[in-house]
Symmetry: C2
């Protein structure tokens, strides 16, 4: 086996422990005589997987019984539509921060359903950033407010959760459970699973039960939150394999200790930022106070050098370092499961590359 | 390894070949140095998986370039809503056959969007059945007509595809690629993957490109068919693992030879129906001419005996024979990947059980 260091922004590296257990059990899950992929979602064997995944996630986020954790297909992008479909009425309005490609997509879907106040817009700013506290003009009486805590493409992260004065919804696709957050501040938060949580194919949605009940009841069954809350994400066949790997990944987070992981995430990111800051060659994309610990983005003096960097890194076993096609540059995505050794290898490579080409 | 015979209605048995290959490659897919679950959906390695899956399915269904094959999250249930959302206008109408639990769900979602003509209703008939040809009152000028070719719960299957006079849409979740069908008769057909195609977590949707372009353009991006057609199901992160297993399953169908599989499916079903017909003890649920080759449903003289049957079968390594909770009885789901040996084991068990309890 020759595993590479996989810097992909998502789908992304999963814990090797989790993959090894999944491999071992793939054909015969713990003596059940079948693969998890083959199990009835109404059976006892699967039910344990489903319930444990929810319970472990709730424990890690510190969520009490006011909360429901739902598995909803369609990733974060479907949530961009489901949220306003359920909660934005024609005579009300919602507040959105637009701080990058992902929050911008959320804004566009919401505008199909009602009035959207963009309370701060730094979507196209370079260096990339999140809005300053006093820059946001929150609306009194907004139906809800929506933020994206980490912009995967720009590499900017919201370090402090704002006080918005209305129920707060957050897209945490790329930094959920990667740093200390007080999840009780939110009415709902969600994440496409394929970065910090598991494989692609679903969003994990934590929602206050009371909120789900307030959603519009006139929309299709599969697009109402109450369907998932009331039927425990088992109204129809859920993505059972993705839920299984998600559950195993959550158990891995618990085994590692989340505080320990948060600390490691800081250290991993800091190592790369240190190389950038010590160099006249590399140039960080994000404003320092908003630098993401998950997606480190930077430029080289020319696009030719960037192409060479990505190519030579791949040859040295470091894959998917190319920045998003919409912005170019370099991006190293280092989620929870990304190992420290991979960061050390990248740091060495960066120094060497600068020496040769700087 | 001790694999059981898994009669689950879905998620259901997958080809052992496919599972073994997935197991072997789980941590390091063909020397890429990572799991398929960890691959960027924009990378070259994943792209081969994605394109091969589509090409193999198109070849098996005999679809030309007028068709697009899309991977849409949410299973068949999401399609029940997406179809009318895209194609049913307030001033038009659509024809639906209601022949069981699944077509009934499709009708309900469609009624949220416009006028639905239920052209035949045998949803609650016992013995279960599909409508007769002359029973269906197709509407001239309907925007489209919708059928479910196989009702997984009732065990009734449409043997002949009707001429409806309007674009024909079909839910083929439980019998796609299991028997000879002329797929060119349809404007669109779809299947939740977790029965004949792969793991749960998506519907495979075959749609004429021209039709997708006619869909409403005012609905959320993730709920428009053109998003999937125009961006090759890569607008956002697709369920990559499910697509991979789907692709491998399609290659397995090709290796087996689909005509060969269709013949085996007939033989497998016939063996069980023969035991039922030769017995005064077992009573088939579906009318003979509409008996499903995929979901064989029958009753025993009492619910107590049914419970005992399911229990003793499970002890003998035959799992998930319990009928759907809404109707009771026994159900043996024997999709493409279900092996003949499992049918033989069931047939022996049925005869033995009748001797002891008949």
């Amino acid at each position: 086996m020759s595993r590479v260091y996989n810097f992909s922004a998502g789908p992304a590296a999963l814990p090797l422990d989790v993959l090894q257990a999944a491999q071992k059990d793939l054909i015969d899950y713990k003596g059940c005589g079948m693969s998890v992929m083959e199990m009835s979602h109404r059976g006892k064997d699967y039910d344990v997987i489903h319930q444990e995944a929810i319970a472990t996630f709730k424990e890690l986020c510190g969520l009490n019984d006011d909360w429901s954790v739902c598995f909803i297909q369609g990733g974060g992008s479907m949530q961009f539509a489901m949220i306003p479909m359920n909660f934005l009425t024609k005579d009300g309005s919602a507040d959105y921060i637009n701080a990058g490609a992902w929050s911008s997509k959320a804004v566009k879907q919401a505008q199909m359903f009602g009035n959207v106040n963009v309370v701060a817009n730094c979507q196209k700013d370079i260096p990339t950033r999140m809005p300053e506290k006093d820059e946001c003009k929150w609306t009194q009486g907004a139906l809800y407010s929506h933020i994206c805590t980490n912009e995967t493409i720009s590499g900017a992260q919201l370090k402090e959760i704002p006080e918005t004065g209305s129920p707060l919804f957050a897209d945490m696709s790329s930094d959920i459970l990667s740093c200390e957050r007080d999840y009780s501040k939110f009415s709902m938060f969600y994440a496409g699973a394929q970065k910090n949580l598991g494989p692609s194919g679903m969003a994990v949605v934590a929602i206050r039960k009371e909120l789900a009940e307030k959603g519009a009841a006139t929309i299709p069954t599969m697009l109402q939150y109450r369907t998932y809350v009331d039927e425990d994400s088992l109204h129809n066949t859920p993505p059972t394999w993705a839920i299984y790997i998600f559950g195993e990944t959550m158990k891995w987070v618990k085994r590692m200790g989340k505080e320990n992981l948060f600390k490691l995430n800081d250290e991993k990111a800091q190592k790369i930022y240190n190389v950038i800051d010590a160099s006249g060659f590399y140039r960080g994309t994000a404003k320092k106070e908003f630098r993401s610990n998950m997606n480190i983005t930077w430029r080289l003096p020319s696009e030719e050098l960037e192409t060479l960097f990505v190519k030579q890194a791949a040859e040295a076993g470091m894959k998917s370092l190319k920045g998003h096609r919409s912005v170019g540059g370099i991006r190293a995505s280092i989620y929870n499961a990304f190992p420290m050794e991979g960061v050390d290898a990248l740091v060495d490579f960066m120094k060497e590359f600068e020496k040769k080409n700087g």
